[in-house]
Structures are given as C-alpha cells and as structure tokens.
C-alpha cells in the first residue's frame, strides 16, 4: 500500500526541474519535502497529483499508474492543497469545501444534501464548523488553509498533497495545523506529502523526509537519520548548526548566527 515514485523527471522546455527522483511513501505517513526555493518541490507535488505528466519516470499509487489513469480516477485518490489561492468570487466556505466532491459527480451532477453533510463533517473534524457560512474571501489566510484542507480530506481518503501548508500562518496556527495533519494521518490512515520550508518543523512532525537539491534527490528517509547537521547544510547550501535539546528535539540554525546573540544578522 504505497505511493511509488520511480526515477521521476520533469522539464519545462529545456529546463529540467525534477531529475531522476525515486522514493516511496507508505500509508499513514506524513512525508515532508524539503529544499531551497526553486528546487522543484512544487513541480514534484504536481507530478504526484497527476497534474503534470513526468517524462521520463512514473508515479504509481497502490498499483495505479498515474500516467494511464484518467483525471477523475486520480482526483478520487489524490487531493492537493495549493500554495496560493487567488481571490475568487465570494463563495461561502461550505461551497468551496463541497467542491471536494467534484470527482464523484456526473458531468451534469450537483452536490446534494448528502454531499453537503460530508462537507460539514470534514469542516467539523478540523474544528472549523464555525467557518462554514462565512465569505471565503474575508476569512484569514490560516482559516483558508483549514478550509482547503477540509476540501482535500473530503476529496480523497488516500493521499493529500500540501504545498507549503504553513505559509501565512502565525506561530500558534503553524503548530496546530501540522499537528492536525499528523493526527489525521494516523487516525484515518491518510498519506500526506507536504512541501515545507522550515527544517525544524519537518523534524518535529514528519515521519519521512525527502530532500531535494536542484531537482535531484539528496537524501530520503526518517528525519532522525537523514536530518543531520551535514545533510541540512548541504541541502540549503549554508553551514548549519545542530542543537540537540534535552527532550531529543533537534534545532537547526544557520552557523553564521553563532556567538552573535540577538544581534545576529547576515554575514558575508
């Protein structure tokens, strides 16, 4: 029962953005994809979502070859929480959430009362039922993320892909959202693959880490194993210091901050 990604490559024109990446993600796993800006994280997620067709290479989801599956077949198993959500019409949040049922509707089909019940359930699972009747354009960035996550959960009970789920979230909400995603992975045996920026958050929450550098796979495996000072330094191309906290939590800090206390800044 796994998502298998074998020697996956993708290029925009001549620009090879993802190059020969292979890994696999089991069920009930929270997998974090780490890498610098422009390292191919979003492209990789879009290949996993079947939105982009990798060439060469392939993605298999529990035996289903995504390059041969129809868009609807893929959408029923894999859902995506996009990186940014541009303004749309002032839909009610519940109307946005219920769109997660789209792949289950016929061409002329519309969501019925049963679909709306499921949408309300998805929202209440995330303790966000209070958002349901509000204007999607007027809730905060964090609340939008929650609403889109509810839509993704409604859409697929198998794999949820998240593109930088914590951008625009405040300190508290960042931890709360990632905690919820992790709990959902365990409670509903969902597989989550999230592109993330902060190695500290990845170490805290992820069961598996995929490190991308310039489109290539640098390392892959459980965070305790691959997230070393050396590994992270290599990943971000900057010397990184590792602090081991008493409870086993690791803290990664750029080395140029060393000894500067609160005045730390960019060193040249």
């Amino acid at each position: 029962m796994s998502l298998v990604c074998s020697s996956l490559s993708f290029q925009y024109g001549r620009d090879r953005v993802v190059d020969d990446v292979s890994f696999q993600v089991e069920k009930s796993t929270f997998c974090a994809v780490l890498g610098r800006n422009g390292s191919g994280k979003t492209t990789l997620l879009h290949c996993l979502a079947g939105i982009l067709r990798p060439a060469p290479g392939r993605v298999e989801l529990e035996g289903l070859d995504l390059s041969r599956a129809s868009r609807i077949e893929i959408a029923r198993r894999v859902s995506l929480v996009p990186q940014e959500h541009t303004d749309i019409f002032p839909f009610q949040v519940i109307d946005v959430v219920v769109m997660g049922r789209t792949p289950f509707l016929s061409p002329g089909g519309r969501p019925g009362p049963d679909d709306y019940d499921r949408a309300w359930d998805a929202l209440t699972t995330l303790q966000a039922g209070y958002l349901g009747e509000r204007n999607f354009n007027k809730i905060s960035g964090g609340e939008r993320r929650i609403a889109l996550l509810a839509r993704a959960l409604l859409q697929s009970r198998d794999t949820v892909l998240l593109d930088e789920p914590t951008t625009h979230l405040d300190f508290h909400n960042t931890y709360r959202l990632l905690g919820r995603i992790k709990n959902l992975c365990k409670a509903r045996s969902i597989r989550a693959v999230a592109a993330m920026h902060d190695p500290n958050l990845a170490f805290l929450f992820a069961d598996q880490v995929v490190m991308l550098k310039d489109g290539r796979l640098l390392a892959e495996g459980p965070p305790e194993k691959v997230m070393t000072a050396k590994g992270v330094s290599q990943l971000y191309g900057t010397e990184t210091r590792l602090e081991e906290l008493p409870d086993g939590q690791r803290l990664f800090l750029p080395a140029f901050l060393q000894g500067r206390g609160k005045e730390g800044g960019e060193s040249s």
């Binding site: 979502a49 939105i51 868009r71 609807i72 893929i74 959408a75 029923r76 894999v78 859902s79 995506l80 996009p82 959500h85 541009t86 303004d87 749309i88 019409f89 002032p90 839909f91 009610q92 519940i94 109307d95 946005v96 769109m99 997660g100 789209t102 792949p103 509707l105 061409p107 002329g108 089909g109 519309r110 969501p111 009362p113 709306y116 019940d117 309300w120 359930d121 209440t124 039922g129 209070y130 349901g132 009747e133 204007n135 354009n137 007027k138 859409q155």
Partner: protein
C-alpha cells in the same frame, strides 16, 4: 454535530428563500410579458380581445385573418416580446458564464470582443451584393468565434492565466475588429447599407419576425439548457486551472465547451437584434448580489432577470417616444447606474 445541524437548517432556509425568489421572478416575467403584448401604438383593449375570442370560437383562425388587432398581436408583438426575453436571457447567462470561466467579474461578451466580431461579420454580410440573412448570421457567428479565440490565444501567448492580460487582449481584438468595421462603414452605401449597419450596432427588436425566432429560439434555448445542466462545473472552473485539474476536471475542454456555447448564443443574439450593451455585464452582478456567487443558484436567477430586464428595456424603447429608440441607449442608460449602485453596495465583499 449540534452546530452542523443548525447550519444545515440555515442552508435549507436559504434554499426556500431562493425558491421563493425564483418563483416571484418567474411570475413577474410572465406578468410583464402579458402586459407588453398590450403595450404599443395600436391600443388593444379588453373589448377587442373579446371580439377576437368570439371570432376564433366561431370559425377558428380563419375568422381572424383580416383583423388588424390579431395581426399586430401575433405577428408583431408576440415574436418581438419572445425574442426580447430570449436574447435577454441568452446575453446575461453568457455574461455570467464568461465571468465564471475567466474568474473576472469585469468580463462580458463585449469585453472579450465577441460582440465586435459579430458586428463586423454582420456588417460584411450586409454589404455583400444581394445579401441573405442566413449568410449574415453565419458570418456574425464565425467572426464572433474568431474574435474570442483570438483574444484567448493572445492572452495565452503573453501570460498564462492572467486576468488583466485577458481583458487587455479582448481590448486589442475589439479595437482591430472595430477599425475594420469603421472601414466597412466608410465604404458602405450611405443610403441603403450604412443605416442597416447602424441598426446592428445600436440594437433593436423592431424588425423581429417569426423567421428570426425560428432560428434563434432553438439555438438560444438549447444553449441555455446546456449551460443550466452543466452549471455546477462553473463553480469549480472559477477556482482556476490548477485547482480545477486537481479536482478532476479538464479545464481546457470545459472552457472550450462553455465559450463555444456562449459565443453561439451571443452571435445569434447580435445577428438578430444587434449589439445590446451592458446586459451581459450587469445582470450577472444583480443575480450575484441577490443569491450569491454559487452558479447553481445564480444561473437561473440571471436568466430570469435578464429576460425581464431586456423585455422592459424594449417596452421603453418602443413606447417612450413616438419613434423607436435604439435598445442600447436604454440598456446602457439604465444599466450603468445600476452597476454603480451595485459597486457601492458590494464594496469590500471581495468580488471586484
């Protein structure tokens, strides 16, 4: 669970309100339609109706053949009012579809250049030696489609999925088609061809005939039925290509389908009654203000209000002064202030 039940009740209440609103609008449309039949230069009173009824009763339609009242009612006013309702519905629903597809409440069939294309096509058809209305319609339709594809292609060429670029591309296409139209007007015979072209540009139903309805009604009704049946997909498409795809739709195929159907409706409307400004832009906004942006509820309301609006506009056009006023004068004069009011009312709700 308690909260969820309560909120479900609320949305049920919303549904009932929406049902009542739809019924009220449909009733209003029916009433205005009947009243419009009796509005006009020739005064048809209840006594005339009674006379016609008894003539029909004694010898069928044959008994009514020479009756002026009967002729005006069935050959002039009935097709005219039907056409006004159909075109109003068609233009406003097309506008709603365009706005949903391109995720921009400013897009209307006018802005993407469909109308300009249609007008140029119609004008070309009109200056052809011994022109036929079939050819005029065909040219109007083809040029309308060409204009909108050109605008889409231009927008795609410059930037992927940028709303402002799309509007600008529409402006470019409109400008090109309008300049060609100007050339045709310049070259046209000022006594016979030029007035015919001007008639197309300002819009009017005064030449409405059953012949027009026979062509326009099946296509506009068919197009409206297709859009009505598939309208939920507009919600998903309005989220943009990336999300539509991840929700299992092929955005390009759906967009081509919706644009084709809408362009067909607009092209036929323009070729039968000329350009009618503002309907495609303002009516969807009124509907959205009334029932929200969910296309499931908003498309039927848009159609009803559109039909009602254009029927009333045509009533004004033919009864305000002794001679007919161009339709676009009425629709733009009344539509623009309504739009300004809506902008004011909906400020800050995030739809502009």
């Amino acid at each position: 669970m308690k909260i969820s039940a309560k909120q479900n009740n609320n949305s049920a209440g919303l549904l009932i309100n929406h049902f009542i609103l739809t019924m009220v609008l449909a009733g209003l449309l029916g009433a205005v339609f009947l009243a419009s039949l009796f509005l006009g230069r020739l005064d048809i009173g209840l006594a005339d109706l009674g006379r016609m009824w008894s003539a029909w009763g004694s010898s069928g339609t044959a008994g009514l053949e020479g009756d002026v009242n009967w002729l005006v009612l069935t050959s002039v006013r009935l097709p005219r009012c039907l056409l006004a309702v159909l075109v109003g519905m068609g233009l406003s629903v097309s506008g709603a579809v365009y706005q949903g597809l391109f995720r921009n409440p400013l897009v209307s069939p006018d802005i993407l250049g469909v109308s300009a294309g249609c007008t140029l096509g119609a004008a070309l058809g009109l200056i052809m030696p011994n022109f036929q209305f079939g050819l005029v319609r065909l040219l109007a339709f083809l040029f309308g489609l060409a204009a909108v594809s050109l605008a889409l292609w231009l927008a795609r060429l410059i930037a992927v999925r940028s709303v402002i670029v799309l509007v600008l591309a529409g402006l470019v296409v409109t400008a090109v088609f309008n300049s060609m139209l100007m050339l045709i007007k310049y070259l046209a015979d000022p006594y016979s061809q030029l007035p015919a072209i001007v008639f197309w540009i300002m819009g009017s139903f005064h030449r409405a005939h059953w012949r027009d309805l026979n062509v326009a009604a099946p296509v506009i009704c068919g197009g409206l039925a297709v859009i009505h049946f598939l309208r939920y997909k507009l919600n998903v498409l309005s989220l943009g290509d990336l999300q539509a795809r991840s929700l299992g739709l092929n955005p390009l195929a759906w967009r081509v389908m919706f644009v084709t159907v809408s362009s067909l409706i607009v092209a036929l409307s323009v070729s039968t009654c000329g350009q009618v400004y503002w309907v495609g832009l303002v009516i969807p906004h009124i509907a959205r203000t009334l029932v929200g942006p969910n296309h499931e509820r908003m498309i039927p309301v848009t159609a009803l209000i559109g039909g009602l609006f254009l029927l009333l506009a045509d009533d004004l056009a033919r009864s305000l002064t002794t001679s007919e006023l161009p339709l676009s004068v009425i629709t733009a004069l009344s539509g623009a202030p309504i739009f300004a009011y809506l902008l004011y009312r909906n400020r800050g709700s995030g739809w502009t």
